[in-house]
């Protein structure tokens, strides 16, 4: 198994005071807390921090850990010396309910942070613990929100194996995506979280909905914004264009003298629901480059026809 350098995890020196260790932990815990952090590996980092603090934050466990010596390096192959913990006695329950600790931690301090000696009584108290809730993000297409859909989700989770050690298992769930979900919304699947121990029921699974990012679209709550490129003459003279929207296609009338950035609102054509959102078509005027002689001439006749200086308030 791999050696864990808890001092390195917390970024403190080996002779740091208990206060310094606590400060370092608190600071990093705020940074990597999965509810707060945007870092993609936050959950893992936070678990690692919790484990490091479980040991270094406790003077007894820290002293035992220090016994191992300072020559070990993070990730090095490690086997505990047979009598490493001789003469040490550990007290106190672990901080994290059912926190998953590494094999390294458990080889030293036993499962769940309880001492290998006399831990049975304490473990009894946890015999009927409810399983942890689990969280996962799923990415769906905007069309799924309009029509509802199905998604296969592969989830990794840790559970207790028959030998009492945690192991990582993967499972695939077929999830129904209800019509009308919006970005950031959560779907709760009761009893699909981590298994509990003893008579304790399983935790719940929370799936957080996200839309696959797509060029030219963005979503705000139930309102959907869609970019519509227009030629300068379509914007100036008005036009009728066919626009693909998530619920199909619409024919849109572009009023004459439309401006870039102007919005056309299609009421109720956003994400459906009790109060359906609106669809905003955002006009974007795209100017074609002048390459051929004829194209250059066309721009020149524009210049002649308009007495137009965009640096003078855009007025002719």
């Amino acid at each position: 198994m791999e050696f864990k350098d808890y001092y390195q995890v917390l970024g403190v020196a080996r002779d740091a005071s208990q206060d310094e260790i606590k400060r370092a932990y608190r600071k990093l815990a705020r940074k990597y807390h999965p509810d707060v952090s945007k870092e993609s590996d936050a959950e893992l980092r936070f678990q690692e921090l919790g484990e490091a603090y479980e040991v270094l934050g406790d003077a007894e466990k820290r002293a035992a850990y220090d016994q191992l010596g300072s020559s070990w390096r993070q990730g090095q192959d490690f086997r505990p010396p047979p009598d490493w913990d001789q003469g040490f006695e550990f007290h106190g329950a672990s901080a994290g309910d059912g926190a998953a600790f590494s094999e390294f931690f458990e080889s030293l301090f036993g499962r769940g942070g309880f001492s290998p000696f006399g831990g049975a009584a304490q473990r009894q108290a946890h015999a009927h613990a409810r399983g942890n809730d689990t969280h996962a993000k799923i990415y769906i297409d905007l069309e799924d929100a309009y029509r509802g859909g199905r998604r296969q989700v592969a989830l990794k989770h840790s559970e207790l194996g028959p030998d009492g050690r945690p192991r990582v298992r993967e499972r695939t769930l077929n999830i129904t995506i209800p019509k009308g979900v919006s970005e950031g919304q959560q779907i709760r699947l009761e009893g699909q979280g981590e298994a509990g121990s003893g008579q304790g029921g399983a935790g719940d699974l929370y799936l957080e909905i996200h839309f696959q990012p797509r060029e030219g679209y963005h979503v705000e709550g139930r309102d959907v914004y869609l970019n519509l490129p227009l030629a300068p003459w379509e914007a100036a003279l008005g036009a009728r264009v066919r626009v693909p929207i998530p619920s199909g296609e619409v024919d849109l009338t572009i009023p004459p003298n439309s401006k870039s950035g102007g919005k056309l609102r299609l009421k109720g054509r956003g994400i459906p629901g009790r109060e359906p959102g609106d669809l905003y078509v955002v006009l974007e005027i795209v100017q074609p480059p002048a390459r051929t002689a004829a194209e250059k001439e066309a721009y020149q006749s524009l210049a002649k026809a308009f007495n137009f200086d965009p640096r003078r308030g855009g007025r002719a």
Binding site: A29, D35, R130, R150, R171, G180, Q186, R188, E220, Y225
Partner: protein, 102 residues
């Protein structure tokens, strides 16, 4: 294992009772009462027996519990963090909108 699962979308429409909220969050009624008193969650209805919570409240309660447990903040601190996180989310949505240019 491969059968179809349908969950419940947590939103501001579906409402749940106090005991349903307790059950979903593994929380005591007393704890929920404290959250209501602190203004972290807002039920509809005059008293605990008639309280109705938006199902969205479940995520808010769970988040508060985790912040309290993991960061050692008290209820008021967790409530402040939640409000700030909501605000950040609102700003991020606006930011994305400006970045998308529409």
């Amino acid at each position: 294992m491969s059968s179809e699962l349908t969950g419940v979308v947590l939103d501001d429409y579906l409402e749940i009772t106090l005991s349903e909220l307790c059950e979903a969050c593994g929380a005591s009624a007393e704890h929920i009462r404290m959250l209501v008193a602190e203004g972290v969650i807002e039920p509809r209805g005059p008293g605990p027996e008639d309280w109705r919570f938006q199902s969205l409240t479940i995520t808010r309660v769970r988040r508060t519990q985790r912040l309290e447990r993991d960061l050692g903040v008290n209820l008021a601190g967790a409530a402040l963090a939640l409000d700030l996180m909501d605000e950040i989310q609102r700003l991020q949505v606006r930011l994305r909108r400006f970045e998308a240019g529409c």
